[in-house]
Each structure stands twice: as C-alpha cells, then as structure tokens.
Symmetry: D2
C-alpha cells in the first residue's frame, strides 16, 4: 500500500515546508518536492493545509479504576476520540493492585490496550516499594519497553508512596535510564484539609479547589525535584497547574537536575471560577490539581513558549456527569477526579496557542508531538521524517469548528470546553499509513493499535 500526501505544508518542530509525502506500508519513505502519483494507491490532497506529525498524548487514564468507579472511556472509545482529535499515540497509565507485581499488571494492561485504534504505550504506576519492584524495573524496561514509571505523592492508601520509597525507586530508575512521572501534591496534608472542610460542612465543588492550595503543589514539586536530584534520576512533573509549582521546575533546571514538566489544556484555558458554579455544575470541573486562579495561565503559556514546560498532556481522566460526577453531589471529596480532554487537546493547544499568537507552529509540534516522543522513547514517532511511522494529521487552518459534547467520541455527557469555537479542522488522520479519520469521522478498523515498546529517555 502506497499513499501520497500531496502539496501540504509540512510542519515539524524544526521547519515548515511544502512537500509531498510518500508512505509505504506503515512508514514514511520519502518526502519530496514532487512525488509522482503513478504508483500510489491513494492520494490525499493537502493543498493549503498543514501536515503535522500525529499528536502524542502521554497522559491518559483509559479504563482506569478510581474511587470505586472507572473512567468512562475504555481503550475503544478513548482511542477513537484521540484519533478524531489528532492524537495518534497515547501512553496510558496502568493501575496495579496495591503491592501487586508489576509484570502481570503490565501484561494485563497490554491486553486491555489491544482494543485500541491507535498505538498505545503504558507508564507503569508504582504504588508501593518492595525489593521485587526494583527487580522488576529492568524487566519492564527491557522486556516490555517501559522506560517510564509513575509515582504519586497524593492519594494516600491508594497510590501514594513516601519520600523514601520515591528515592529508592528513582535511584534505581535513574540507573536504568527510566524516567519517573510524578503527581506532585502533598497528599497527607491535603487529605487533612479536606477532612477539615467537610467537618465544617463545606461540601461544594469549590472546596475541592480550596483544599488543594498551590503551596501544597509547589511544596511537593520542589520535594520531588530534590529527591530526583539526590537520586540522580530524570524526572517528569505531570500536570503543573500554577506559577508557584512551575518556579520549582525552573530552580531545579538551573541546578542541573534532569527535570521536565508537563501542563494540560485545562490549566491553560480554564480557571478556578469554573468550580464555583451553582447546581453542582462545578462538579464537572473537578480534577487534581484543581483549576487555579486565572493569572496562572500566563505563566504556563510562557513556560511552554520558553521551553521550561516541555509537553502538553491531556490528563484525560473522564467521568460522566450523571452517575459519576454526581456521586459527590453532597461531598466534593466523593467526586471522581478528572476531566475529559483527549479529544480536544490538539485543537485547544492549536487554537489558544498558535492561533492566538502565544506559540509558533514549530513550538506547537514540539509540545504535542516531538518532545513527548523524545522524552518517552518513541523513536518512530514525533516527527515527519524518513522511517518514522506515518502518523500524520492533515489540518485545515482556514476552517473552524465549535467544540460540543454532542458530537464527541468521548464517552461522556459533557465537554469541559463546551461551546468554544476553535480555529482549524482536522481533515485526515493517518496512523501507520492508514487513514483512520476522515472529516471528523473515525473510519479505521477496531483493535488496530499496537503496543509501543519504547526505548529509554535520552538527554533532551
């Protein structure tokens, strides 16, 4: 099978140029000023459109058990939504039982993921420390291609590890070239603040915001970075939500720590006022860290533009409003934490970033595709170049669309960006050479996604 994408404006992190792209089988085999159409099985006319490498969302929670329920998207609906939204690879989090061996968990999640319609990798969550964990890390890395793990500094009793566990695991990870994702909030103190608020009858969603203050995110972020420094290990702070935490990343980078940061569309575009709405509307916007005061958005955009923040991930952790979010109607602490975002991250970032003039086209590609690929060892992804998987998004910047839950593939009954008009429409999405999305509709096969065996982190 040969496909040619003709006449598009190819955008990579390094440049912007007009070219034809030849795809043979699953890979890009030629990029040329002119490719003759004769031998092609399929021609995509991209005249006047951008041709981007497919988005890579390294922060998703599909089929993810949390708080006695599970996220609303499984690998089917979730990866369809991803594809339609321009994301051609995800790295999802596993969720082991507490104290469970990492290997069977990994096997189990590889299995779950086989339903995916796009390629999927897995970060191994580690929720406890034992000698076995350290023994399993090299197996994960070598046998399963898992060069990234995740540790939580919050959610005690469920996923949280303490400082010593974090240090010992990171030390081993550092030796193996494994990068550690960290959810950085001081869980112990936040739990206490929540208990206090509830004891005082403060049950509305806005108290979710008040009981997870920025200082407790900044504290944990600084601590994680210090531990990474002591352990001589690379670290990736997920979902940085505020200027105060970001400042800790800057400081660590200045000290020479191999520290990287991610932010998410919700922190770039939404703010704490969304939590403070009548009729439990705020419940839809409960995620952790919580939405912050609006002025933080500038700091985050600036972080992306200057390279202090390397990646935008969706933290897609979707729950339906009816039946799931409403579990916490009378107690904000019972609202499952998380927002849907996988379907919209690409558009949100393009619209509020590129279209609004905050970041360049190259930077957009870097954030949504090239950097995630580099940091998480996806050597066949993240760029439009020879030998790379033909994961490609064709994007018409001259059209626009309105985001709405009604039309989404995400299996949820609301959309956090409902009603926003965004510039640009995705016309084609290719995954390993196959057109799987056409004009907003998923047209690919089911279960066509492949598990991503990844290499270790490289010095960015």
């Amino acid at each position: 099978m040969k496909t040619i994408i003709k006449n598009g404006i190819v955008v990579t992190s390094g440049s912007i140029f007009k070219a034809d792209i030849l795809i043979e089988g699953e890979s890009i085999t030629s990029i040329s000023s002119h490719i003759t159409q004769e031998s092609a099985d399929k021609i995509i006319n991209a005249e006047g459109q951008y041709v981007f490498p497919g988005g890579i969302d390294v922060h998703t929670h599909l089929e993810w058990p949390l708080m006695d329920t599970e996220t609303a998207d499984d690998f089917v609906s979730g990866t369809k939504a991803a594809a339609v939204g321009g994301i051609t690879s995800i790295i999802n989090f596993t969720k082991p039982e507490i104290g469970a061996s990492l290997i069977p968990t990994q096997e189990e999640w590889i299995e779950k993921g086989k339903k995916s319609v796009i390629d999927y990798g897995l970060h191994a969550i580690i929720n406890h420390y034992s000698d076995r964990v350290l023994e399993e890390l090299p197996i994960l890395a070598e046998t399963y291609g898992v060069g990234s793990i995740k540790l939580f500094m919050a959610y005690k009793g469920e996923m949280m590890v303490n400082d010593l566990e974090m240090y010992k695991i990171m030390k081993k990870a550092g030796e193996l070239g494994i990068i550690t994702n960290v959810h950085a909030e001081n869980g112990d103190i936040i739990d206490e603040m929540i208990a206090q608020a509830l004891a005082e009858g403060k049950t509305d969603p806005i108290y979710h915001g008040y009981t997870r203050p920025t200082i407790m995110e900044a504290e944990a972020t600084g601590r994680a970075l210090a531990i990474a420094e002591a352990a001589n290990a690379p670290i990736y702070i997920v979902h940085v939500s505020c200027a105060e935490a970001l400042e800790k990343v800057v400081e660590a980078k200045k000290r020479g720590v191999q520290a990287f940061a991610e932010t998410c569309p919700q922190y770039l575009v939404l703010d704490i006022s969304y939590l403070d709405q009548p009729n439990f509307e705020g419940g839809k916007y409960v995620c952790s860290p919580p939405l912050r005061e609006k002025w933080n958005q500038d700091a985050l955009w600036n972080g992306l533009q200057t390279g202090i923040i390397s990646v935008a991930g969706s933290d897609h952790c979707p729950f339906r409003y009816e039946g799931q979010k409403t579990m916490g109607k009378d107690d904000f602490s019972k609202i499952p934490n998380g927002l849907p975002g996988l379907e919209d991250i690409f558009s949100i970032l393009y619209h509020f970033g590129v279209h609004k003039g905050r970041i360049s086209l190259n930077k957009f590609v870097e954030i949504i595709s090239t950097n995630p690929a580099k940091l998480f060892g996806l050597t066949k992804k993240g760029d439009i170049s020879i030998g790379k998987d033909a994961d490609i998004v064709v994007f018409d910047p001259n059209r626009s669309r309105v985001i709405t839950a009604e039309c989404q593939y995400q299996n949820v009954d609301y959309n956090a960006y409902e009603g926003m008009k965004v510039q640009g429409v995705i016309t084609n999405v290719l995954s390993r050479g196959e057109v799987i999305v056409k004009d907003g509709q998923f047209i690919g096969d089911l279960a066509r996604g492949k598990y991503l065996h990844r290499s270790r982190v490289q010095n960015q």
Copy 2:
C-alpha cells in the same frame, strides 16, 4: 546537477534517521529511505556518518575595523575557515561610521561580502540615534532583508548608544518585527575601571578580566531586557558569559519578554586563568566580555541544555598575536578585543557538548543551526527538509582530530583551542548543493557565497 548523499544518519533538531538525500541544483528536493543513483551526477557515501544541516554562525566580525586595526580575516579567509569548520552561513556585523546613514553602509558591506565562499547575511550595527535611523529601519528590513540590528552598551565614543537611544530604536524595531542584538556591558563604568587600573600601573591582560566584572555584564543585561520589555521588542543578548547575566535572561523570560540569549565556545570551554599567563600569552585570550571563573561554564552548558540559551555563536573577531594583540603589550586596553572561533565552533560544541554528554545530538543541531535560522529569518536554512538550501555537513563521529593553528584556514597565528583533541571529523561540506569542503580542504570556488535576504523574527 543532482547530488545524492547516501546512507547517512540524518540529524535534525527533531529526530535522527537513516535516509538518502537528493539535491537538485541548490536545494534539497527529496529525502527518502532509498534514492536510486541512476540519474545522479554525484554520490556522497555517508555510511556511518552524521548528516547535519550546515552550521549557522550569527556572530562574526570579518573585515571589521576595531581599535585602529581590522580583524585578521576578511570575507575570503573567514568564510573558507567557516566552511572547513562546518559553518555554511554567517551573519556578519556591519560597521558604519558614527552617524552614517545605514543604507550606504549596508550596500558597502553587501559588496564586501561578495568575496565570501558561503552565504552571508548582515546585522546592521546602529551606533547612534537620529530620525533618519528610524526611517531607514523599514528600508533595511524590506529592501535589504535585514531583520536584525545590533546595539552596543559598551565601547563609548565608538559604538555605544545610551538608554534612550536604545529604547527609541528598539521600539521602532519591535513594531517592524526586527530583533535587536545587544552587547551588554556597562561601558561607562568599565571605561572608568580601566582608567583606574592603568593609573595604578596594572597593564597586564589579566586586568582586562578584572576591569569588566560580571556584575557590569549582569547589570547591562538586565537593563537591556527591561528596555526591551518597555519597548515591547524582541531582544537577543549576544555572548552571555556568566551565570549572573544568564539569571537576568531567565527572569526576563519569566516576565514574558521575547528574550533570547547566545553564548560562545570560549565561555563554555576557556576561563579567566587563560588571561593570567606569563609573557603576554594572556593577550591572546582578550575578548569582551572577558573569560570568567570556571564555575560559570556549568551554568552556560545548563542554559543550552534547558533552552534558556538558544544559540551558540562564535563571536569570531580574530586578531593576529604578532602585530595586533601585541599592540597592547604594555597596556591591556590597547589589545584588540576578540578571539578567532569561526573555524572551531562546530567542533568545540560537538565535542564538549555531544561527545561529553552535556547535550543531545538534536540539541546540538538546534543550537548551531535550527535556532539561529529561526531567530534571524533564514527560512531556507537550519534544517534538512524539502526546499531548504542544501547546506549540509557530513561528519564522521568515529574519527578525531587535534585543533591546531598550524592547519587552520583562519588568518591568525594562534588558535584559542590549540592542542585540544576533539571527537569527530567533517568529511564533506555542501553549500547550496556544492561540495565545497572535502576531507578538511576547501575545494569550492571563490566568491560563490550569496547575500542572505532575511525575513523577520518569528515567535520562536
């Protein structure tokens, strides 16, 4: 003319991949997994070698009058040295008479540059303020493709402008999308310190270092960034030499200033002890800002790795030891300021950066080629992609060489990196499709370089 570079490992800022490259005329027209050799006029076998986009040195002073003498390299010897060293484009500084119109100066320097063997652009130095300057800026930008100017905060009476002049010029530049290079040292106070030192009989080269302290570089850097902020203009701090000045760049980036920084190989590899040598040996190492305490090197490498510093430029400002540097044998202030570096910047950065593990291959390309092209509007340079000029360096990472003045093309009688063994040897250099360097020898035509008409700065 068709040339194919076969089997090389192509390295861009975004990825690393094996591919063949087809060059037709001056441009890259195809990058493919396999290009048939039939129709090619020339084949370069790059098996086992890196194929880099040609280096871009945006900071050179060829044929540059300074302190009653002129730099030792003209556009002939200088660009030959560049080519041999892997640099396929330079942006040289003009040098107008004080108060002179910018346009004839520009014309004159375009003329001078025609002797170049590689492509050359020009930054317009502005050494005074007048209404005419503001009127000439759009002409420079549009007619001459000069999207960058340079202002000096030192060298009073020769090039220095004051704060108000800087503000008014930058304000206009900002409106026009012109980026301002700034030499940031507090010239007034430094001149006084020099006078004091000389009055106390301190005439050795080391006093060059002592009379230009880091605080005076940091002060001027902070001031320039504040003025850029007030003027709402993009700014590029040339030759950041120390942690204290770099910190000002970090602060400005955090405030959202469109601020970029450059450092130079001499600040990454050499230190102030080089100035403190017997028999006027220190005279060879006199440049401004001066070499700094060694610990600053880590901060600068870290700045490159984290993206706080965007570019490495050579600040190639060569003077012969005999007859030029020695003009200051009895008075350090009479030593012409500057080091040769154009021939070695590529190698130094590769060796001490990539080979020593401080930066990745991608980051190396970003610093030496992609970022300079983006920041200074070289839309046909800085990447290996379709339609780009075929400016390419083929580099064998498995061989090594020793830097020595004896073998250099630079027209100077010493080399600042004399005797250093560096990993990697440049085997071929192509400029717009022509092989101009083969195995260390320049084999191209003279005067083949073209003047670079540049576009304006884009948001990086």
Copy 3:
C-alpha cells in the same frame, strides 16, 4: 530645667517597659522605675500612654524648588507640621543650582533651615559631576557633618546624573563612609514615554502612572545597586514603591551589597486608582514613583516586617492643589510631583502597621526612629536611652482621630489621607527636652531647631 515623664510605657526597638524618664536640659539623663518628682520643673503624666522616641523623617523637601514652583511648606510650616505629627528630626534635601559648588549650597540651606522648630539635617543633592564635587565630599562630611548625599536617575536636565557620574561619586562616597540616597527611575526612558503619551493626547493624571511603569523603577534600582556594588559603597534606595523594585533590593542584599531601602506611607496605603479620578482629582496624587497597583502594598508591608526595608520616610513634597497641582490640569507632566505626608507619616504607620497587626510596636520604632538614626548618623537620636536628646512622643493608643486637611499644619489645601480614622493620638511631643506640642497644638518657640551635624554611616 528638669522634666519627668512619669508612668509611661516606654517603647524602643528592643523592648517595652514601664519607666519614668528624667530629662535634664536637652538630654535624657535617667530612666528609672521611679523618679522622685521633687526636683522636677515639669511633670508629664504618661500613665497608660506609649512613650516613643521622636520620629525621624529622613526624606523631606521643604522650601524645595521644583518645576518652576516651590514646595508649599517652608521650614516653618513644615517643621511645625512634623512636630505635631510626632516627627522631631528631619533630614531635608538641599537643591543646588546645576553645576554649583556644594559648599555654598550647604551654607545656604543650613541658613534656610534655621527657621525650623525641630532639628534638621541636610542631605546634599549632587546633580552633576566634576572634580570639585569629589573634593567637596570630605569637607561636607567633616566640616558640615553631611554623611549622606543624593543622586537622581531621573529628572534629566534638572537633577539626573548618568551611570559614570554615579559610579565616580559613589566610589568616593564609599571611601568616606558617606551613604548615597538614590532616586531610582530610568529618567531617559520615562521622559520619552511621557512625550509619547502627550503626543497622543493623553494628558490626564492617570498617564503619570502609566508613563512611569514598575519595570523602569526596577531597572534603575537594579542598576543603582550594581553600581554601588562595583563602587563598594553603601546605598539607600529612597521611596521603593513596588514589589518588582523591592526584589532588586533583596537580590543585592543576598550578594552582600550594603543596600538599604525606604518606602513611604503613600505606597503602603494608597494605590494607582487614586490617580484615576474625575475632575482632576487625580492630580492631588501625582508623585514619583507613582502610586502602584494595590497588590504591591502587601509586598512593602512584608518588606518592613522582615527588615528588607529599613525605613519609612514621608517624601514630603507638598504642593497646593489650587495654583500648584492645577498647573498640570491640561498636561499631567506639568503637575508638580509630590505629596504632603510629614504630618501624617507617624500616624499612618502606627495605624496601618501596628494597629492593624502588620508590624510590632518595636518594629514601628525601628522603622520610624532607630533605623533612620543609625543609617544617617544621628547618634543622639533614635532611641530612648541615656545621653540621647530628649526627643520624645507621648502617644495615647486608646484614643483615635480623623485625618483632615482642615486641621492640619501642613500648608496645603488637601490631605492625601483625608477622612481616614486612625487609632492613637499624640498628646505630647518633646524636642531636646522642651514640650513643643501639646494635645495637637504646636506650643514651642519658632526657630528653635538646630542643624544636625551627623556622623558617617555605620554597618547596620
């Protein structure tokens, strides 16, 4: 003449204690748990009242020519207002003709000051550089007891000096133990911003605020501190108005610079919205630096509490609304810059500081009396201890009063704090042992103030 202050609660920077105070002649000769009243000529019953050392306002502009007019208070009305407000010493600025010798200026201002009802010192403003200036500095310090000078980085053509002049003067000052007051705003750029605003028809007082942005204060502050560092001289930044400038002070202190900062009541209590009022009401609030965004107030209070800011000075620079402020009715740049504050600084600081819980009683004394005395060489002032001049304020914290122009001694037709109710009433003010204020009325003799011959700065 013997006076006893009985039963008061003495408050110094170091402690709070009940004691009687015996004053013999001009000095405090005994502080005791009980002083017998027999031999006393006068008894002041301070039962239930605080007994503070008299306030010292080191930043006043009495009889000060500015912008073709002169401040509304001369040494008579100004020092009466001071006394009534709890200030028993001032240090006023001189105002030499441009290029004039400092010595006759000093003589002239000593003469002017003789009308004062409280003691007065003089800071020597230096508005130009010449060899004579350096020669006069030791004479000023030794013969005239002037251990402090002032340099302006703004008001070009009137008072501004450039960096080199500042450096040379500060270097000499540093050698002599003279501290340099600096008005830190980048005058060159501000003048240009003003010209631009006016050219665009922006003439209202609010544009006074917009054309002197915080970045231009912060820039100049950082520059002054860097120059002080290079010159190895002590420096005192007057009227720090915003967080951004204050941050420069913190940085300099961390580098070990002998740097001190002052703020003023208007920056602690008022904000930029005062400039933005209809009917030229904003004209009343024009001072430089301008009033700032309200959130800066917290940073300034915090600076006082933590000791980063050492002193509160009034920057008393009063102009009548009618006839003076209104000179700029159609052009904000013609509004004479300055606010009255000498009469209220003590009360404002007590009320919004101590009474509101932002600073302790000891800290209040430190800021308003002890630190100014230490920094400016007033060895007989600033404390209630043996041998000190009996400059004392007896203050009833249980009463309150309303600030209003109607009742003020200041020779202006408005009060910047009009209508504010403040806790505490000054019942007695003693100056060198004489009761000069009783229940809000000045009852002392005219021209009783003495010129303060000061010693040099000591390491605080």
Copy 4:
C-alpha cells in the same frame, strides 16, 4: 541588695551610650548618666568596657539522651559554662519518651533544670502525634509558659514526625501563638544514604557530611515552611547551615510566612574540611546538619547582617571525644551528633562578627539577646532597660584570649574552636543582679537558676 555598674558603654540593639546602671534586687531599676554610689552595696567599674544584655542561647541540649548515651554536660556544668561564656539564659530541649505525655516530661525537665546556675526555659519536643498532644499544648503554654515546641524531620524512630503530624501540630500551635522549632533535614532519605554508604564500606566521619547533602536540608526547610504557611503558624528553622536552605527562608519571608531562622557558630566559622581529618579527628566535628563547604559561611553572615537570620544559637550538644565520639570509630553513623558550643558562642560571634567587621555591635546584641528574647517570649530578658532582669555581661574589648579545652567549663575533652584567639574578655557576668562570673571564674551559687515561664511569640 543594690549594685551599680559604673561608667560602662551600654550596648543595646538600638543604641550605644555611656551610663551607670542601678540594679535593685534582681532587676534593673535605673539607667542614668550618673548614679551616686552612696547607697550601693556593690560597685562594678566598667570604665572602657561594653555592658551587654546577657546572652540568650535558645538551642541547648543539656542532659540530653541521644544514641544510647547522653550529652556530656548536665544542667550544672552546662550552665556554668554558659555563664562563664556570657550566656545568662538558655532554652533547653526536653526529651520525652516516644508517645509520652508532654506534661510529666515537662515536669521532669523542670526538675532536672533546677540544678542550673542561670535561668532556663524549655522547648517541648514533640515526637509523635495524638489527640492528647493537641490537648496538652494549651496547658503547656498557659500552665508551664512553654510557648515553643520542636519538631524533627529527621531521626526516624526516635524523634521524627511526618508531614501530616507536623501540619496538625503546627495548626494547633499557630492558633495558640506557639512557635515551632524545626530541625529540617529529610531524615528518610538521609537514613537511606547512610545505609548505602556503610554498605559500601564508607565509615569515616567525612561520610557523615556526604550523606546529609545540602539539597536534603533545603528540601526539608522548604517543606517545613510550606507546611507552616498552610497551617498559618509561626516557624523557627533551627541551625540553618547552608545557602541553599537559607534561600528557602528568604522565599518564605517574601510570601509573608511568619518564618524565622537560626544559625550556629560552627556553620559560621568551621567547614566540611574539619570532618576530613586523619585518625578519627573528624569525629569531633560530627553534628547535624553537617559542616558545609566554606563558601556557605558568607551567605550565613550575610543572613545575620541583613536580618534574614534572626538568631544565633549554639546547638550545644556536647559529647566527649574519648568514649562518646569514639563509639563511631568504625562507623560514622554511631558517632553521637553534636558539638559543644555554649561556652564559646558569645565570643565567637563577637570576634568573627563584630571584631571582623561583619556585623555591628547593635546587631550582635540583637542576634545573641534581643531577638531570642522577643521570639521566645522572654519578656524580662534581652535588653538593658528598666524592669528587665539584671542579666548583664561586662566585656573588655581591648583584651583578648585563646579558646582552649584545657580551661573550659564544658565537660568535654576537646573544644571545636581550639586555639583560636578571640578579641574581648568577659570580666563580669550578672544574673538577676548577682555577679556569678568574675574574670573567667564562676563564683555564683549552685542551683540558683530559675525556670523561665514564657509568654507567646509576638510578631517580631
């Protein structure tokens, strides 16, 4: 009993003045320019000498069990040493059994302290969390006058509390106006580093230094300050040893946290090279945090001078070399942590601070006496003023002495400052009016010290 100190130069934090001091009973009742000697029982001629308020050392560990041994000084030898060294009040740490009720512990330690020859207070160490702890805090504060507690972030299993415990305790403490001392090192990770070092056969004292890196002090310091901020409680970081930790204090102060810091003479004067000596000589210098790289000393002195550090405490935790320190001859982790310092802190601070020109005389008094009194509620101490306890040090600045273990009162067989010649000799020490030290000899009664019932922290 009436004592007069005649003709001395009284030094307080606020001023320096010549005066006579009358002491009646235990208190200062009069400070006067001249006190007639008639009625006096005792005259101390202080002509030419400084008269300081007695030193207050708020960080001592007398009779303190640690690592299966106990500090070498009990309340007898320790307080004698203190007195001879110019310290007239101490606040010692209690040491409860793990989980023990605070009240009997307090009673027990009040009892122990009765042997003291100077006044003593007690900080309550809290080594666990329970509801009872929170209930006991108000009792401690009210009944026992204990307005300060101490929490450890290191020494797991012995004293360490976790973040949640710290938060809950500090929250209650904050409500009660109790200030929390914090030993800030990340104990968990340090313990692991120690285990690693030992496993690798690294047993020498220098590894004590290497296994407690500055980043782990800085991390814990930042965390403690964040928790204090969240808990809205005042906090006092004990023994700040390095620039990196100090920076966290600066940041917290800027955020408005009620944060205070202490450093100790060993961090100001000694450095990590002392640990790296042959023949287990380094064992003498094992304390926690460990001695640091020498360049940190400047940052700490600067912290004292600028007021960022409020207090110098000795952290007197003495162990004999023979038999105690040598317990760790083959394993640095078995060396009891701590240095003797109570006898020398006053002299070390005067000599290296005042005499060397780093701090002023006033600042010396502030650090060693006034600030500790203010922060820890010693309302009758910390100043020479009416009604204060007559705790006074008469100090001859013109003489000098050599510190040596041979002559010390401390019950240890070495002195950390052995052989240092220090300027100034203490000639008299008075405690509540009694001369207890005369010319270097303790001449007071035993068990004359009183327990200090303290008030709560005031806003400094």
